[in-house]
Symmetry: C2
Subunit: 209 residues, 2 copies
DNA sequence: GTCTATATCTGGATAGAC
DNA sequence: GTCTATCCAGATATAGAC
């Protein structure tokens, strides 16, 4: 009408995003998306050929923004530890802004693996290389880089994919849970610093037999 | 025949477990389960009323074994850190024996939340309480217990729910990935020890031999 | 208990008028 | 571009013979 309503296509995208987020790909219903967008089911197929295509479009949009932004935080820096801390802040900020992404990625990794390949994501490997360099230069405590990456990702991502589970297990209210998420970056950085900081050289302590 | 083949019902259960693991609840097909069990589709409905019922049965079985076992590792112990290490070993061992469970739990937490409530799982809260006690007694470095729990779970569970993702991101072969999983418990325990060990007040040696 | 055949239902996709 | 009506495949579930 006269309102500055977003055009149909973007309404559909927003509606689909919400529906996919709420229910996951398999349980998401084209009808429900149409309802959310307040249009007819046929319009979905007019603008996007299929459910698959619709999902792929959204995923590409999101991933195309997300990964470059995260990767931008990976600019070379002299010190690896603060560099990692920046990465964690960036990563968590983007997750909080796009809390659906981890679940999407899991979906994709099971149902639409080919989509992943279209999005070049080499920053994990870059990270691993940077980590290994830092290990050798003695900047960080010697450590398996891949284990470290898995730990970081796991700690960051867990609250987003396991929201219901965690809330249930720990008997948390929504507000408590959101609070937990918002202080999560600090928590993870604490781990990182503790884990990576090399033991003082001349120490009297036995270097963990 | 004359072989000591398991009876139909258990064959179905095993087949269904495999199918649910491979494809998740939504993409699991009753026909595929029947094929795996080498019986007819109708038999599934004879022994278990519906797909939902079949899933629920499996879940209850598994959860009924898993949680008590894990909980058993939570016997009171004098020192909280070794106690946590034992917990991690137990937890990871059970995950490796039941690699589908984390994905199941996620499924359930989205689609079948009511199933979770049937399985009494109060060990996370017990753990939190034990943790807080240890904090106050100065046995461990002061710390947010719930954040800690989320971190542990995330680190343990990540490789099981994100197998494809991790393999893709880090460009790992199956063998490398399995190796990563099998040394994972050690990795996590290293984090735990570093994080929980109180800073040496003045002493020359941290109380860990 | 086990099968074959079939009913039923759901949901993605298309045809065609406007 | 938008709608109504419809198709059709795929999947769960049931009927009923053996």
């Amino acid at each position: 009408m006269s309102e500055i309503e977003p055009d149909t296509k973007s309404r559909i995208l927003a509606a689909a995003e919400a529906e996919f987020l709420a229910n996951g790909y398999d349980r998401a219903r084209m009808q429900a998306i149409a309802d959310r967008a307040q249009i007819n089911k046929a319009m979905l197929h007019y603008h996007f050929r299929s459910k698959d295509e619709l999902f792929a479009q959204i995923f590409r949009n999101k991933a195309g923004v997300f990964f470059p932004k995260v990767e931008a935080s990976l600019r070379e820096q002299p010190d690896f530890i603060p560099f990692t801390c920046v990465f964690i802040d960036t990563y968590m900020a983007h997750l909080m802004a796009n809390p659906f992404l981890p679940s999407y990625l899991l979906q994709v990794s099971v149902n639409h693996l080919e989509l992943l390949e279209q999005v070049a994501i080499d920053f994990p490997r870059k990270f691993v290389r940077a980590f290994e360099a830092a290990c050798q230069s003695g900047q960080v405590r010697p450590h398996d880089a891949r284990q470290f990456v898995v730990s970081i990702i796991g700690m960051c991502v867990m609250p987003f994919i396991g929201r219901n589970l965690i809330k249930g297990f720990l008997a948390l209210e929504d507000s408590q849970f959101d609070e937990l998420i918002s202080s999560r970056a600090e928590e993870i950085k604490r781990y990182v610093v503790l884990l990576l900081t090399p033991e003082p050289k001349e120490s009297k302590e036995p270097s963990r037999a």
